[in-house]
């Protein structure tokens, strides 16, 4: 007699995770095989993948649909510039400090905007981002409304030579992406993650099982805020220049991220990853179209939302029952005869 038991791993997920190791080693070695422009593009992809994964945790799992995550991207950029240039802190120490500050700021913001529900919560997050933008535009030591550049001495202090700096920027971006995706997978496998999934599936039922909904969502919001702040630091470390409009751009840091997640598949770990790759493939081939490209992107997102709301990955997962990251529980040992 076979015993039934519940597992999260499948043969595919184990194989995929083992395969990820050589891929990761190859990516770490990228400065030795990739060209300068490719390395920069790959860094951008890694950072967008992180932003998409974080937004997906917020909207797809916690039901907190934010259109104001640019608040934390911009906050991160500005904190990084302020900590290194005004406070004279070492850039490598500034990264965790900025992340901590992001969490400290996200907590009271959450208390305030959690009073708004659903779609009004979404616009409330946008108001917050506008408050951040208008506030930083008033800080004259960071260039006010026109912005400022990162001093050359700080950039030079991070690594020797131009190629060394570019390698460091790539490793930081790759490290951040691995950190973010790893943290989200581990979080979702944890007790808190199960609670979160339960809330997503049925808030009333979750509440009756004793889950503290407010607290669970609060933790998710603050952690996502902190990690988004870190990604913001790295984005503007790559750009070397910051201004309020670029730092708090709703198009760059929220609209694109939402399209990535919707196209890839909301509410799955793989969705944002697939979505980012599709997004950059489209961008690299269609960027010449300019505004038409953005219109096409908006149309694709609407059609996917109407016709296949679970996105590309959701479609494949439902059709072939596959999953790369071991998250859902499956029962094994069931026989068709039921004996």
């Amino acid at each position: 007699m076979t015993r039934m038991h519940v597992t999260r791993r499948t043969r595919l997920s184990t194989a995929a995770l083992i395969l990820m190791l050589p891929v990761l080693i190859a990516l770490i070695a990228a400065p030795w095989w990739a060209g300068r422009a490719d390395l920069r593009l790959m860094g951008e992809i890694a950072l967008y993948m992180s932003l998409a994964t974080l937004w997906n945790l917020l909207a797809g799992y916690a039901g907190l649909v934010s259109v104001g995550q640019q608040a934390y991207v911009g906050l991160g950029g500005y904190l990084f510039f302020a900590l290194t240039m005004l406070a004279g802190i070492d850039p490598y120490a500034a990264l965790p400090l900025a992340m901590l500050a992001g969490a400290v700021i996200a907590a009271p913001v959450a208390v305030l905007i959690f009073r708004l529900r659903g779609a009004y919560f979404a616009i409330g997050t946008w108001v917050m981002a506008e408050v951040f933008r208008l506030t930083f535009a008033q800080v004259s030591s960071l260039g006010g409304g026109s912005g400022t550049s990162l001093s050359a001495s700080i950039v030079r202090g991070m690594a020797d030579g131009r190629s060394g700096r570019e390698a460091v920027a790539w490793w930081l971006a790759l490290g951040a992406a691995v950190l973010v995706i790893g943290a989200v997978v581990l979080f979702l496998r944890s007790r808190q993650g199960v609670a979160l999934t339960a809330i997503r599936d049925n808030e009333l039922a979750a509440r009756s099982l004793g889950i503290d909904i407010w607290r669970t969502k609060f933790i998710v919001y603050v952690v996502v805020g902190a990690l988004t702040t870190l990604i913001g630091c790295l984005i503007f470390l790559q750009k070397l220049r910051i201004s309020p409009d670029a730092a708090f751009s709703v198009n760059d840091w929220t609209a694109f991220v939402i399209f990535i997640v919707v196209i890839g598949g909301i509410g799955t770990i793989e969705g944002p990853i697939v979505g980012t790759l599709v997004f950059f493939a489209l961008r690299e081939t269609m960027a010449d179209l300019g505004t038409l490209y953005l219109i096409a992107l908006g149309l694709v997102a609407i059609v996917i939302m109407l016709k296949a709301p679970r996105g590309l990955w959701g479609f494949f997962r439902d059709r072939y029952n596959i999953e790369i990251f071991p998250l859902s529980r499956r029962v094994t040992g069931l026989t068709s005869k039921g004996s």
């Binding site: 909207a59 649909v65 259109v67 305030l112 905007i113 009073r115 708004l116 529900r117 659903g118 779609a119 009004y120 979404a122 616009i123 409330g124 946008w126 108001v127 506008e130 408050v131 208008l134 506030t135 535009a137 008033q138 709703v250 198009n251 609209a255 939402i258 399209f259 919707v262 909301i266 505004t291 038409l292 953005l294 219109i295 992107l297 908006g298 149309l299 997102a301 609407i302 939302m305 109407l306 709301p309």
Partner: protein
Amino acid sequence: MDWLNAIIQGVLLGGLYALFAAGLSLIFGVMRLVNIAHGDLIVLSAYLALTVTTALGLGPLLALVIVVPGMGLIGYTLQRAILNRTMGDDLLPPLLVTFGLSVIIQNALLIGYTADPQNLQAGAIEVASVAVGSIALGVMPLIVFGTAVVVIAGLQWMFYHTAIGRAFRATSDRQDVAQLMGLNRAHIFGLAMGLSLAVTALAGVFLGIRTSFDPAAGSARLIFGFEAVIIGGLGNLWGTLAGGVILGVAQTLGAKINPGYQILAGHIVFLTILAIRPRGLFPRIDG
């Protein structure tokens, strides 16, 4: 006297914000829909008025005769063709679809009209004013405020004294039962969105006469309208007017202290009210 003047100008500005907000409030009341593209639709109306004025040589106020029903038609069609498919318990589809619409409208306007700021020329009425004591009141802001009061009174009357208003309230209370009573939900939703965008058209034309606008001007208008709705309390149209006035006064007073604080002061008053009275000042329904 300067401060009194700032407050009075703020009250009048609040009329415009109430017009931004009335359309949002209406569709939220009837179908719990929050339209992220609302601000971009306001700007779209201003551009439509611009096209009508240049093509037909009409003044922008006369162009309303074409733009208001035009936007109403667009609203009805948009709701029936796209937005009705997203209605349901899940709030994600309507939110993301209207977000996509917002990006599409902005970029389509960018292609059609370029990024150059435009404005609507209303002629002498733009600079006309009446003196009350030592304070000069602009005729245009007075017209806008008066229109806001009339629009809100009209919507209020329609909601409580007409058959269509009864249908709106019935659908708002219980969609499935309203459907059982023979109301066509899809059609009712279409009418609500059409009405919302007809009000939006008024707001857009007044916006275009007051200031210059460009394709990216929509998001700020969405935020102002949203703040007026929340300050006033969900589902309360007169509250929305009060919310618009509070926001307008906060902005003109902020601008009086330092021009850089104008918008920020409005946001801070909004967040303060959210902290003290999370359901707004005069709430009617739960969000």
